[in-house]
Symmetry: D3
Subunit: 257 residues, 6 copies
């Protein structure tokens, strides 16, 4: 949307019965020694652009920062408090609803970790703007099947900076991936209820991540980048785009009735 | 804890290496014509008492209100904003951490719906009190397997006021269940990405509930109370208590090291 | 209200011209070695139930926590900030006003100490909901005469955990009172303007309580439990209930005109 | 303090063991057709100056605005929300405590009505600055006896803009008093629990004032200015000053020990 | 306005098509060893009274405190946070707009330093009250030419407590000026982009002031009081009053159309 | 910084005595029919990248949104409240100061309009992080001379979307400029104190912009794009980069001492 004039946006809204806009949000945070800080924002941005192009919808500029306090032990991580993320999204949603966007879909690149903030903001926006529909697309929620199908590692290998995110970056930003730095890092939880599996549910107690530090010997990521491949990344990307486009089509069809 | 003196609590903390306290939180909100407004708080309270007794830990008095704006169309629903729930829990956690409780476990009876608020509060508390461990027990997260195993209905039958919550109340508060008012209510989402399945993950887009009203013909609940039975309720209760007690034992064992 | 369905509440509101609801709020805080932490909440809860039954009005579930920072030196005390109490009550009031309750009466068991927060919340609610009437019942305000009449001790004997609260608990929850731990504790203020008399006014400078600690030799309460008796407790309870019921009757009569 | 340099204040603090500062706060709000909007601030200011001179302590510049939403129906009333008053006082207290003032005494001219805000701010400041002592002087709290002794009218005659405040203004700012506009205005509450008596306690339910408007025929004040006299005003002023000075002397004596 | 009754204000508003009110805001903060803490508030107050009298408009009572954290190292400075200033002004503006003031002009005596807070508050008030016009008069913005014309010192001589403010106080409050304490104090910035010139623009990087302390040898002011004269002060005062009166006349003329 | 790993950032901080980081912030808002919504963010981003490369410092990812409520009448404008901008910058500054960046320079592309928010945030950050230096670079503040020198239009021609911003976009993003839509738009203020001159100071009253709407015939921009040229844009860009690099060099030199 940053490259359109206000008249272009005006035209788009007039031309569509239920205008749709995407809001990509990521995070700037450590992803181990092999991936750049911007991984989560790149994912949000890439997915939003792919979806927007395929579904012919608009997308706002990206939000590069998210809720990442537990990564602040590592230099370069920039974290917003949950309240700030909620305030930021609320203002963005208010602006978009004011202009008549009836479908406002947030694309979350900070997989799962931004969800409490985004769920809070969309819940409040739904109360404030009953004429607009709010939804959240998270690769680890809309792409459960594809992640399950493609994985070569175990549950814990696909976590932060592991098999899945490395694959995505190899597919979309190979020049930013340092393959020589690939190391498997996993940390067994103390309990069988501490799930490392973000794409399936089993008996789980939820517990916030604690702040690790490089001084304690941690590399930052949790997972196995050596299980990654560009091909997996492409397939994840394609599936998430495809699923979201299907969702938008079903959404628009339901609103026509 | 409300029945103990401060000296009793003092003694408990001194007697235990890693003292544990439970914080039950529910909601006061409509649960259809067959269940009382207090279902979620009763669940939190019953579970907390069961766990506390079995594991020999303390429990705070219950929080009867939660984040329930989408139910406000129905009389009797009392909703706190997400910010208020976060502020409330934050103050409770701060008090408990000050007294030296090293393990503070929130028991959520407002299944899944209170999670964004509780996750936000525990995340911030973890940053503020690194010497304390925070965890969240939600029946639909720690009891995934038992819910799966017991269900007779489909995914949507187990939602708000449906098969599972009705079973729980039949087991624990049968005098508050109006069996004559049992009606199956399900509302198909517009999309295959709109999951009704709270205890399993499939490709899903997250979208906040909108506020329904009785004037539109809704009864309030979503699910099938006719699939409920006291026996299922007992089994769910027993399993959640048992799992949580196991979790606490593993937690304390890990902290002894 | 927690034991009613939404249809029960709906019916109550429809059946009454000026529907009334009570909101009991207490505190979980130290009350010396002889009384449990829940004294203030038990008082709010007991009074609300007594009033509701006699006047045929509804009552919400209780709020167990209040503004008790000055007691945080004693284990088990859980304190909300004044802002949190205001936010919590505001959300509860908003929900109740939305459902059409025209009279919303807060029953304060944390005698006097919660008043700044409740006065702030009711003042703001009065501005926000001019169609609803807000009122606060505090035993030490609506029961001035009965407290004066019954007292055997001096002014300072009836303060926190002293003659009056111990009597109340002896009457209503005798199993929670440790009579063997009864000790008179009084602390003379430095000035004749420092009133210990909560039920009469004399020349006074207001000054917030400071945080005492058991390490300094304090037992926590201020007053004389040995002056307490179950009979006094019954009379206080009966009078506060009776006065409040009279108030509600006068209120409803004034609204009929 | 506004007429001193920072070096003067520095000297004062160095010269005193337990330096004392007064913070006068009033309100700018309607006081009927016979008194100016500034009555409450003039009272705070006059009293603070009198006390400061007699006790040789400092006073900050006055705060002219208070919590007066219920008077906003009348032109010229300027009201701060309770939160704003708390924030304002908190910042002032923080600054003063930082400079080493060990006794910070707020002089409230907006009799009783500002108390919830000031009590909240002093309570929080006491927690934040345990090395400083906070106190509140309100003419209707520190001058209970003198008001009782001097009154010619009944309880309701001494309320907002009535016998007492008119006397004060006649004594201190006679040029601002319009004696020709003196009218007795009293509004019986609906209930015997609705106290009009601000200087004595009887069985009372607390209930926030609702917003009256001139369009409804109200003159704004509640009380009887015809019962006022400059002499009463002088006596009230003298007594409040004298009592406060005594309080300060006792306070300083207690801190010397 | 503090000396008017509500009926006086009511009359003023009725008598004028586009009623105007001034809101003077200053600061209580160190101004070196030669000027009192109240300089900024005296300027706001004096200017507001002069403008009000000449233009026949109303003025609210003054706000004596502003955003002065960087002066807190010096005793006697009282600082509000930016948020508190915004909240305070917002409440004042809301009250005034409610009464029908169509032009609300803030007179800032805390030259330039209060502007971010006032700009934020007027911006939000403009959104909230589109029927009212908000403006800010700051001597260093509306009196650029007169300051330029009168100055004898260089750019840095006219800063905090220097040539201009000392002149103003000599003209209006000579009894509060300690001429024997006049000392020139200037601190060269590290960079040519660090402007000391508040009344002209050149290539500049904006950078917040840091907190200086007397312990480090600072006297507090920055500028040259020896360049001050009562005559300059009178001319500055006259010009700012005159310019503001002209502005108000043009404003009212534009609103008549 | 988004393309670096945390180890890269760690290395940069270790290698530099006084590490420097830039924070580019813009706005997404209407800029007339000839310029895209992203103009302000592109300016911030382009300048930050140019400065970072020349001065060998780091830059965070850009913030695409700013304080733009007065443009919300035009579709596509996305506005954050001033509070949200302050919260967002505060969190970013806190993260950067935590990692040891001693110089944190915000590059503002939303010329002048974002300044109250950025000034507030940098002021608070200076208090919170005295070990870090905060500064703000705004093209219309650090580039006063170059703007003056290059201008062909009058003062009002260079405002929002006019001569200067159009030149910048022609130089850096010519494909986003619609030259066929160039129209001169100027709106005379009602008063000679209403300055249109953002790069020089004359006697001025500050007054927030009001919300215009296309329905009222406005095109959105204020200024004269026909006076723009790519060459002017290049010169402005070069000068702002050069000035900022000089500033950074002087800053680092001053910190070495």
């Amino acid at each position: 949307m940053q490259d359109l004039t206000w008249q272009d946006v005006d035209q788009y809204i007039e031309d569509h019965d239920s205008p749709v806009v995407l809001v990509p949000i990521g995070s700037t945070e450590q992803h181990g020694p092999h991936l750049p800080l911007g991984v989560d924002a790149y994912q949000a941005l890439d997915l939003a652009e792919g979806i927007a192009e395929t579904a012919n919808v608009l997308t706002t500029p990206p939000i590069w920062f998210g809720d990442a306090a537990h990564h602040l032990g590592f230099p370069g991580t920039i974290s917003l408090s949950t309240e700030t993320v909620v305030a930021l999204l609320t203002d963005v949603y208010d602006s978009l609803a004011l202009h008549g966007f009836e479908n406002i879909i947030t694309i979350n690149g900070h997989r799962v970790a931004n969800l409490p903030a985004i769920e809070t903001a969309t819940k409040q926006a739904t109360e404030a703007h009953p004429e607009s529909h709010f939804a959240i697309v998270d690769p680890l929620r809309i792409g459960v099947q594809v992640h399950e199908r493609l994985r070569d590692g175990g549950a814990e290998d696909g976590m932060h900076g592991g098999e899945f995110e490395t694959s995505f970056m190899q597919a979309k930003h190979p020049e930013l991936v340092k393959e020589k730095a690939f190391v498997r890092e996993t940390h067994k939880g103390f309990s069988r209820f501490h799930s490392n599996n973000l794409i399936d549910l089993d008996d789980t107690v939820l517990s916030p991540s604690t702040r690790r530090r490089p001084e304690e010997g941690y590399l930052g990521h949790v997972g196995d980048p050596t299980k990654a491949s560009p091909k997996k990344g492409e397939q994840i990307y394609d599936t998430v785009v495809e699923n979201t486009v299907t969702y938008i089509e079903e959404l628009l069809a339901s609103q026509e009735g």
